[in-house]
């Protein structure tokens, strides 16, 4: 089937001929097609079959590995929650808030009132609060409190409109004013579940922009969230606030000629006489923190859909309204943790080389029967549960543990001065070295096995003593095994989690413990993702550096 020349009827197409001419006479197959093309065609079927063979694994890897990593990378920069939850506020901040040391203007507070009311109804305001709380502590509780308090924002105007004309309390009045007549026809008499998507009446958004926006939001929440019919629901107080703001801003009600024209112009005439209260004061009544410019600064700073905030936090920096700044001293932990993780992984790797090399050497050079036994001993840890092994270390290393007892019994340490061997860095290093040792020994062993004994014999026959023969001839040939073992151990240990968690105490934990904390306890997945992405980046950089210095094709895993 690789015989591509067995196709005599094929004529080179014009394009092929052109290519041939361009390539300045490439090698041709017997039928005149370029040899490369013939070969490719012949190999295509083979490649396809090979692809099909690996397809299950490929799909598995895509689903379980590539996709989660992509998702993690995305989460580490994703920040749509702010712009999706308080869209009007962000626009208003952007347009009207220039002096970042001062409280924003009324438009921003009003926008926040509409947004917050909607978010509270959707029960999304607490999520946003938690998100912003990562950046400025206190925002979470501010949002939680305000979720209920925002119900009253605008109440003062609702009362006055209703006093003016009781019809303003009627849902029908509002739908007649705001909704597309066709939508009303559709929505009338339908089951609550089947209400069509809300549509605004033509032109109303031009006349009453804030009201239209607030009412449309209201209608959507009523339909989607509550499964009710806006034709039967009294509007929220915030909508009266919007109407008041539109009318007092001088809305051109004469342009409106719909069914509520008379009622609307009556309201427009009455509005200048209304008792009014600034929206900011209403917010102050809910919580004084709303008058803190920093709250608004945080919202503003994290208004974009994507953010570097998680990454900054992961390296102990923060994005403040003034720009990027280091975290306060007492909150810096991640850089320290990164450094500690790298340092301890390096120490563990070094320990594994020191302890593993002689074992691998023995394995590779002992007679088969003895080396098989030794191999079983090396692999034994693999066959016991990680938790069991780690717990065993706890038993051995704790202050009342076997090792301390023995040392005290021998008299090497005093009874009241027992060694602290666990719940610190030492504990993590000891336990992890033990756990990762096989990952050093196995690649070392497989490389050493391929070094024929004749090299060392040759070296000795040439006059080298045992040490020289080892150091100058055997060792250099085992370096690929060391490289492979080091990469394995280092990368495994950099992301290790269970063992440091169990025996690391406070000083012996790794960055992965922090990631786990953010994933399962603080639920700050964005930060966890950023930390994970940095870890991934660090590993890739180290890998790259290793490739540059040692050469990755010098690594033998077997």
């Amino acid at each position: 089937m690789t015989d591509a020349t067995a196709e005599p009827t094929h004529r080179p197409s014009p394009r092929e001929q052109k290519e041939m001419a361009e390539q300045d006479g490439p090698m041709l197959a017997a039928d005149g097609t370029p040899l490369k093309r013939s070969l490719n065609r012949a190999l295509r079927a083979q490649k396809l079959r090979a692809l099909m063979l690996i397809a299950p694994l490929l799909i598995f890897i895509l689903v379980t590995f590539v996709a989660p990593i992509a998702d993690m990378l995305f989460r580490s920069v994703e920040n749509q929650i702010v712009s999706e939850t308080v869209p009007r506020t962000i626009v208003a901040l952007d347009e009207t808030w220039s002096d970042h040391d001062a409280v924003p203007g009324e438009a921003v507070f009003a926008a926040m009132a509409y947004d917050l009311k909607e978010a509270a109804e959707r029960r999304e305001h607490t999520r946003l609060g938690s998100r912003l709380n990562y950046e400025t502590t206190g925002i979470s509780s501010l949002f939680r409190r305000s979720g209920r308090g925002v119900d009253d924002v605008g109440e003062i105007y609702a009362d006055q409109f209703i006093e003016l004309d009781e019809a303003w309390e009627e849902p029908a009045t509002w739908t007649a004013l705001m909704a597309d007549p066709e939508w009303i026809a559709d929505a009338e008499g339908t089951e609550d579940e089947d209400i069509p998507r809300f549509r605004l009446a033509d032109g109303i958004a031009d006349i009453l922009p804030e009201t239209a926006s607030a009412y449309a939001g209201f209608a959507r929440v009523i339909i989607d969230q509550d499964g009710d019919n806006p034709l039967e629901e009294e509007p929220w107080n915030t909508i009266y606030l919007a109407l008041y703001r539109d009318l007092s801003a001088g809305a051109d009600v004469s342009a409106y000629d719909g069914p509520q024209a008379r009622r609307l112009s009556a309201a427009a005439e009455a509005v200048p006489g209304f008792e009014s209260e600034p929206v900011s004061v209403m917010f102050e009544d809910i919580d004084e923190d709303w008058l803190d410019p920093q709250v608004w600064g945080t919202i503003d700073a994290f208004s974009s859909r994507y953010t570097a905030g998680y990454y900054l936090a992961a390296i102990d920096m923060q994005l403040t309204p003034e720009g990027i700044e280091p975290q306060p001293e007492e909150q810096r932990i991640y850089l320290l943790l990164f450094k500690r993780t790298l340092f301890m992984s390096g120490v563990i790797m070094g320990m594994c080389v020191l302890l593993g090399y002689p074992v691998a050497f023995l394995l590779a050079n002992l007679p088969l029967r003895t080396s098989n036994l030794l191999m079983i001993l090396v692999l034994l840890p693999f066959w016991t549960s990680l938790l069991v092994r780690t717990s065993a270390w706890k038993v051995l290393l704790q202050q009342e543990g076997v090792i301390n007892d023995t040392l005290v019994w021998i008299g090497l340490v005093a009874d009241n001065d027992r060694l602290q061997l666990i719940n610190n860095q030492l504990g993590t290093i000891i336990a992890m070295t033990h756990i990762l040792l096989p990952f050093m020994i196995l690649p070392l062993y497989s490389v050493m096995q391929t070094i024929p004994p004749s090299y060392v014999r040759a070296a000795k026959s040439l006059g080298a003593n045992d040490w020289t023969a080892f150091w100058r001839v055997y060792f250099p040939q085992s370096v690929p095994g060391i490289g492979a073992g080091c990469i394995l151990v280092f990368i495994l240990s950099i992301g290790y989690y269970i063992t440091p968690e169990l025996v690391g105490g406070r000083t012996g934990t790794f960055i992965s413990n922090r990631i786990a904390f953010h994933i399962s306890e603080s639920l700050n997945w964005g930060l966890a993702a950023a930390l994970g992405a940095i870890l991934l980046g660090a590993v890739l950089i180290l890998y790259w550096a290793y490739d540059r210095i040692v050469g990755i094709d010098n690594v033998k895993l077997g």
Partner: protein, 365 residues
Amino acid sequence: MTSGDAAAFVAFDRVQKSYDGETLVVKDLNLAIGKGEFLTMLGPSGSGKTTCLMMLAGFETATHGEITLDGRPINNIPPHKRGIGMVFQNYALFPHMTVAENLAFPLEVRGIGKSDREEKIKRALDMVQMGDFAGRRPAQLSGGQQQRIALARALVFEPELVLMDEPLGALDKQLRETLQFEITKLAHDLGITTVYVTHDQTEALTMSDRVAVFDDGVIQQLDAPDILYEEPKNSFVAQFIGENNTLHGTVERIDGDAAVVRLDDGSQIDTIPVNVDKPGQRTLVSIRPERVEFNKDRLAPDAHTIKAEVKEFIYMGDIYRTRVSVAGNDDFIIKTRNAPDQRRLKKGEILEIGWRPQDCRALDA
């Protein structure tokens, strides 16, 4: 030569070796090698040749007996102090060093200065015609080139004794022949004592001053190549070295250095007794294919002849090779030179064949 010979440069004295404590891989080895001699250990695989070499180099210890080098017992001298050059079958060139570094290695560990070193390396490389390859790595060399470098490395520190364990085993025939010649020439020119191990009898015959034929941990025969070929002392050597026709039979009578053997089909032939001593003994008669005669004029008038039927005639250019059936043996080969007056035998032809008694040796069965 006997063991303990005062003139011997290398001597094995009643050496035995066992790896497992149950079987002897080398059984009672006595061997004396003169200075400057080129001695080959020849034998089938597993016969203990490498083991002997390794004991000499110091990588295995003799279970019993003594090995002396230049009169000194070396059993307790570690390998790196023996000063023996060694060439391995897989070359064992250090892959992480260049050719020059490989050659510098034995000089460096001996503490030889840089300029001396360079000069010696250059000389050694020129000696094996590899002067241009100093900067290459072993992996960039062909098998033959690697073998040359291995040879240069074993010689660069000017050892008096060089051991080679099947150094040409992995090379193709032509290269092997070239290198055989070069190695022999070098060894003789430099006057080095060489112990060479091979399982290839042609190699052994063409290169060596003397050949020790090994089988089953015992030296079966130790002689110069021509004697080994023409006067094998037992049937193993006769069959191992060169092509050989064998006929089974029983000794009929022995008259001094002539014996008549009755073959299994009843016919009688003249032989010389080598390791048979009384009538009635079973024997394996050995005749070289080129010593078989079917031209009556060339045989003694009273010589015993025997009937043969031509089974196959093969034209091989320089020689004719005829397969005949003799005394029940269908694989009896006759080789004749392609001379102008030579007759080409025909399939089915019946002949009378014979030989000079001294070419036909009655060996152990």
